[in-house]
């Protein structure tokens, strides 16, 4: 066991994957000499050479598109998109090529790409540096989408993503980059929970609270605070956003009868919509109240002095829990 920050855990995961498989190559802007703007790839170019850790020209469509070509050639490219807001120039290659090539070729061409995306807000950044674009990719068939919330998951899930023969979007909760945790660097991948599985990170009986990435910590804090008031929250860390692990969610909601979902992305068509819809379909007779979404607003990401309002925090989550429990809450009395 080693105590690592989330960035160090990702770095270790990249290193391990590169050691294990010479076909793993990294592409991105500033990932080589600089080691990435968040130092996630620190030291890798020095140790593996500039033919495996490739500082690319400044063009995201090309980062993805050349990775597709490398995959045709048998490589397993890991692309870094520097910030969430810079993934859109590469959107066409992701949606029309990466996601579709396996089906287009009847399974004959595999696209084992991993696309790393530092995402989310809360770090006081200017425009385009705090986005939560995951819903676009969850809606895109052919992709897998995951997001770790702890150093151990960051390490393990990245290795799983790189080992996966399907393309994987790997969303890194950048405001938790400095969170430290114990990481077992030696445990075999075969012993790890499946990449597509959610995890109950805190058992509870009154309400199921679902979060992923940066908000898992916030959700855990909310659960502790609620416990003081005698409310028992079961917190589920989704880990996989596509596919969603419905068996775990459904089992929990059938027990608690109540559901709250938290994410930073805007409410409309965010992950909360899909989870609410499917859980309602499959747990209709178990639900005591309507699932509650606690999310970012439907606005472009605001100036950083306003982000504390936009981002769900402990209080807003607890207010949502109150709503799910039918307790007095900020919206009590609001006309429907």
């Amino acid at each position: 066991m080693s105590k690592l920050s989330l960035t160090q855990a990702i770095n270790a995961g990249l290193r391990k994957a590169m050691e294990d498989d010479p076909k793993v190559v990294l592409l991105g802007e500033d990932i080589g000499t600089l080691g990435g703007v968040f130092r996630v790839t620190d030291g890798l170019m020095k140790d593996f050479g500039s033919h495996r850790v490739i500082d690319t020209p400044l063009a995201e469509s090309a980062i993805i598109g050349t990775a597709v070509g490398l995959a045709y050639r048998g490589f397993r490219p890991v692309c870094e998109i520097q910030f969430d807001g810079f993934i859109y120039p590469g959107f066409d290659q992701i949606v029309s090529q990466v996601a579709k090539l396996h089906m287009r070729t009847h399974g004959q061409v595999r696209m084992p790409l991993t696309i790393r995306v530092p995402f989310g807000g809360g770090i006081g950044s200017p425009e385009h540096h705090s986005e939560s674009p995951e819903a676009y990719f969850v809606h895109t068939s052919g992709l897998r989408v995951i997001s770790p919330s702890s150093p151990q998951d960051a390490y393990t899930m990245l290795r799983q993503a790189i080992a996966s023969d399907d393309p994987v979007l790997y969303f890194e909760p950048k405001r938790r980059y400095h969170t430290k945790g114990e990481v077992d660097l030696a445990a075999p991948l075969s012993a790890a929970p499946e990449m597509g599985s959610a995890r109950v990170v805190c058992a509870g009986t009154d309400v199921t609270l679902v979060a992923y990435g940066p908000l898992v910590k916030t959700a855990m804090d909310a659960a502790s605070a609620a416990a003081d008031e005698g409310i028992s929250i079961e917190v589920i860390d989704l880990r996989s956003l596509s596919p969603l692990d419905y068996p775990t969610l459904i089992e929990s909601v059938r027990r608690t009868g109540r559901l709250v979902i938290a994410h930073e992305a805007g409410k409309t068509m965010g992950l909360g919509a899909e989870i609410t819809a499917t859980v309602t379909e499959r747990c209709f007779n178990y639900l005591e109240s309507a699932p509650v979404r606690v999310t970012g607003f439907d606005i472009p990401y605001p100036p950083s002095k306003l982000e504390k309002h936009h981002l769900p925090d402990l209080d807003r989550i607890l207010d949502g829990v109150d709503r799910a429990l039918g307790r007095t809450n900020s919206q009590t009395g609001m006309e429907d």
């Binding site: 063009a59 469509s61 090309a62 070509g69 045709y72 287009r104 004959q108 061409v109 052919g142 597509g196």
Partner: protein
């Protein structure tokens, strides 16, 4: 706003490489001659046969579309020399990234005719295994494949292999951001990739002059990528030009850009009506430069073609056409549940559930009337 119509004539300022004129005379070209010094008359007749066969394929497919057997067909009529000259310059392990129009290239590479048709019939996503023929399936998103070719070539360079990739692209494609980024990456990493641009003068209804006032080949020079403009209706010159680029790629010379100046003699696809946007004079002009006619004249003059050999080639082409027709018409319709296959390599519980729901839905009709 510039109200003047954009021209379709090739702008001057670049040397256009030829080896066989429109009337069938062999000329010499300082750069290209050495690349075809080994090409004898038998080989040339083979190229003629190739062109004739793919023209026949094109006719047959067009006819099948008219008869409702294909959903759509993008004719290659007029571009036979560009397709044959380029693909015949390649080694089998060179990887090809085509557009939707390189169906002649796919045939030469060995793809099964019915397979090629399956995409255009709407019965399959692909008609061949890209890894079997070292050729990707048709790319419809304009320009996207040029990045794939560049990445593939970066991979070749990483491995230190003597191989290459080739990206086919059209004149219209040169405007896309992806094509630019391909040139940037290819130049930066000195990737062994050939950008083979068939300037067929039209992007659906848009003349090439709308995309560029200059020859497309001159675009490459700003990236430090050697380029040339070749008569795309001269199969020998195209062969030579592609070999020039291939040698550069194989010997560490990095990327090259070839503009093969040709003409789309048919509609953009069978869904298109070119009479809405182009005149007959232009068509007639280009008919006079037909890639088959000129090689035929050359071969006739050289005594390599007579009525008998012509008949033999025509019979061969007819046989190919018959095989195509047969294969196409007999393509089985895909199974309903195959729609769920190959979306992912590994199991995907959400999709698996949808598949099971749809299986149940379909079976709910079983036994019911109608």
């Amino acid at each position: 706003m510039n109200d003047s119509r954009h021209g379709t004539t090739v702008p001057a300022g670049m040397h256009m490489h030829h080896l066989i004129t429109a009337t069938g005379e062999r000329t010499s070209d300082e750069l290209l001659d050495e690349f075809v010094s080994d090409v004898d008359h038998v080989t040339l007749r083979g190229l003629y046969r190739d062109m004739l066969v793919i023209r026949r394929i094109d006719f047959e497919a067009t006819a099948l579309q008219r008869q409702g057997q294909l959903a759509l067909w993008p004719p290659l009529l007029g571009q036979e020399a560009a397709q044959i000259g380029s693909v015949r310059a390649l080694d089998p392990e060179d990887f090809i990234f085509p557009t939707y129009r390189e169906n002649g290239v796919a045939y030469i590479r060995g793809a099964n005719l019915a397979g090629i048709m399956s995409t255009w019939r709407g019965s399959a996503n692909t008609g061949w295994d890209p890894h079997e023929f070292n050729m990707a399936t048709p790319q419809i998103i304009i320009g996207a494949q040029t990045l794939h070719a560049t990445g593939y070539a970066m991979g070749i360079a990483m491995e230190g292999k003597e191989s290459l990739s080739i990206a086919y692209l059209g004149d219209g494609a040169t405007s896309q951001g992806d094509v630019h980024e391909s040139l940037v990456f290819a130049a930066s990493f000195q990737a062994p990739v050939i950008f083979f641009c068939q300037n067929n003068h039209w992007a659906i209804s848009e003349p090439v002059g709308l995309q560029s006032h200059l020859p497309l080949a001159s675009r490459a020079s700003g990236y430090g990528i050697p380029s040339l403009q070749v008569d795309g209706n001269d199969v020998l010159a195209v062969l030579a030009a592609t070999r020039w680029a291939a040698r550069r790629a194989r010997t560490g010379g990095g990327p090259s850009f070839i503009e093969a100046v040709t003409y789309r003699m048919g509609p953009h696809t069978t869904a298109d009506d070119p009479t809405r946007y182009r005149g007959v004079t232009e068509l007639e002009e280009w008919a006079a430069k037909d890639p088959l006619t000129r090689l035929r004249s050359y071969l006739f003059n050289a005594g390599m073609l007579d009525a008998e050999t012509e008949a033999a080639i025509a019979a061969e082409a007819d046989a190919v056409a018959a095989e195509l027709r047969d294969g196409c018409i007999n393509l089985p319709d895909p199974e309903a549940l195959s729609a769920f296959e190959n979306v992912y390599v590994d199991p995907h519980p959400v999709l698996d559930r949808q598949r099971e729901e749809y299986r149940r839905y379909l079976s709910s009709f079983e036994g019911s009337a109608s």
